[in-house]
């Protein structure tokens, strides 16, 4: 598995554009996430949050622009990038007729993990799913499926996490488990980019916050200097809707 380089930024995006048909979704977007940082991006529906995550995860090919992840070019080194990113999307990316164990075993084999059973035990333990190990995904509740989706994303111990509204469908206990799971390796070579609507959750997790509107990052701010009421006003100004 590739080791990320400390010499580069975790994520560096320059001039990223993506359109679906005539509809521009990302417009010349620039973004930098250093190692050790947790960046939360807030944005209204249709602002380009999900497309940004999908493009960074190499699920969607950009029309133009440069994406470097851990110093690796997404155009040329997508396979290497996928070894060091963990992605949580709106879809759970799991097979409903396979059990929790079978799903994770499958992904473990796809990532060529050596100590896969140990990692599965660790991942399901972190997300509070140990007692569901041999149940089929179909019979799990939506929240449990979402927990498993996070366990899948963490299975290969990724250095960079891309989380697209991970809090949706999770109860308070699961949110705490997610926070703990991300925090376990915090301080090591890790970076997190998360999109969210939930201001309380986003601010509790992030080191830095940003606002995306009309496919561009229009505002960035460190949490240390953040005034929550002021940030809400800024969000309202750029998006026309309240946080």
């Amino acid at each position: 598995m590739s080791q990320p380089s400390r010499d580069s930024l975790a994520i560096k995006v320059k001039g990223l554009s993506k359109a679906f048909g005539r509809t521009g979704v990302l417009r010349n977007l620039d973004l930098e996430v250093p190692w050790g940082e947790f960046l939360a991006i807030f944005g209204a529906n249709g602002s380009g949050k999900t497309t940004l995550i999908r493009t960074l995860a190499s699920l969607t090919r950009p029309d133009s622009g440069q994406i470097d992840v851990a110093g690796l070019s997404s155009r040329r080194e997508g396979e290497k990038i996928r070894t060091i990113i963990g992605v949580v999307t709106h879809n759970i990316l799991l097979y409903e007729e396979l059990t929790v164990y079978e799903n994770l075993k499958f992904y473990g084999r796809m990532f060529a993990l050596k100590d896969v059973d140990q990692r599965i035990n660790d991942a399901v333990g972190q997300m509070g799913l140990s007692h569901r190990m041999h149940q089929r995904v179909r019979i799990l509740s939506h929240g449990m499926q979402k927990r498993l989706s996070i366990a899948r994303a963490l299975l290969h111990h990724p250095s960079i996490l891309l989380l697209d509204e991970p809090e949706s469908g999770l109860d308070q206990e699961a949110l705490g488990l997610l926070q703990k799971a991300i925090g376990i390796t915090k301080g090591s070579l890790r970076a997190v980019l998360m999109t969210t609507h939930n201001v309380e959750y986003g601010l509790s997790m992030a080191d830095r916050v940003a606002i995306i509107a009309d496919g561009k990052i229009v505002h960035k701010e460190s949490k240390e200097t953040l005034d929550v009421a002021g940030f809400r006003n800024t969000y309202l100004h750029f998006t026309g809707s309240a946080l």
Partner: protein, 225 residues
């Protein structure tokens, strides 16, 4: 190196087979459809021994190809509908690996359907088809179907009219393999020697290689949004 390439291919095929064993979403309708085709032809032509030798290969491959299309239609539509295709694409493997994994899964599935079909066909048409030559022709031709069908299944999964789109794309390209398979099977039933049947098998083999190479390349684009 080879283990790193083959491991994920087998993992994808194993996953598809396990899902099919659990759900039987594809195999049940496909086998029923294939049996119906054979039964309808059996009643339509009232087969005499002479007629059977002439028409059986065509009927057999009509059943195999149409049944195969039904199965191939589901190969990617299930992944797409459930969103799990993104999960595959997030794995650190090349798109070729995903392609060959899906081809292997489809190939084994189609062979299983054919293995069920052959005895049914043999009973209805009073014709033994468990001959090494027929099995060789079926094994090679089915590989060609799986190679082409997998890439077109991926393309069709991105369209609204996927059930119509797949046969429209598939049959013109797969036609040389269908013709060679029918001729190879007919030659076996006529009692032609290996040299005659071998030429059809070679032709199928050439198309298999072309299909695997070209389809593997085209598959990269089929997955793009």
């Amino acid at each position: 190196m080879i283990r790193n390439f083959l491991g994920p291919i087998w993992a994808i095929a194993w996953k598809d087979i396990l899902l099919e064993i659990r759900t039987k979403e594809i195999v049940t309708p496909v086998v029923v459809f294939a049996i119906l085709v054979v039964v309808i032809f059996n009643f339509a032509i009232e087969p005499t021994p002479q007629m059977v030798a002439a028409v059986a290969p065509g009927i057999l491959w009509v059943a195999f190809t149409f049944a195969g299309i039904l199965g191939l239609n589901r190969t990617f539509s299930l992944e797409k509908d459930k969103g799990s295709l993104d999960g595959l694409m997030l794995c650190p493997v090349s798109r070729d690996t995903i392609y060959f994994g899906k081809v292997l899964g489809s190939y084994l599935f189609m062979l299983a359907v054919e293995a069920i079909m052959l005895p049914v066909f043999a009973v209805l048409f009073n014709l033994s088809l468990f001959l090494p030559e027929v099995i060789l022709v079926a094994a090679t031709a089915t590989l060609g179907f799986a190679a082409v069908g997998t890439v077109f299944s991926a393309m069709a999964a991105n369209t609204r009219s996927r059930e119509i789109m797949l046969p429209v794309l598939f049959f013109p390209i797969a036609l040389p393999v269908v013709i060679a398979a029918v001729e190879g099977t007919a030659g076996t039933l006529r009692g032609d020697g290996w040299s005659e049947i071998g030429r059809w098998v070679q032709l199928i083999g050439v198309f298999d290689v072309i299909f695997l190479v070209v389809s593997g390349f085209a598959f990269h684009f089929a997955l793009e949004e």
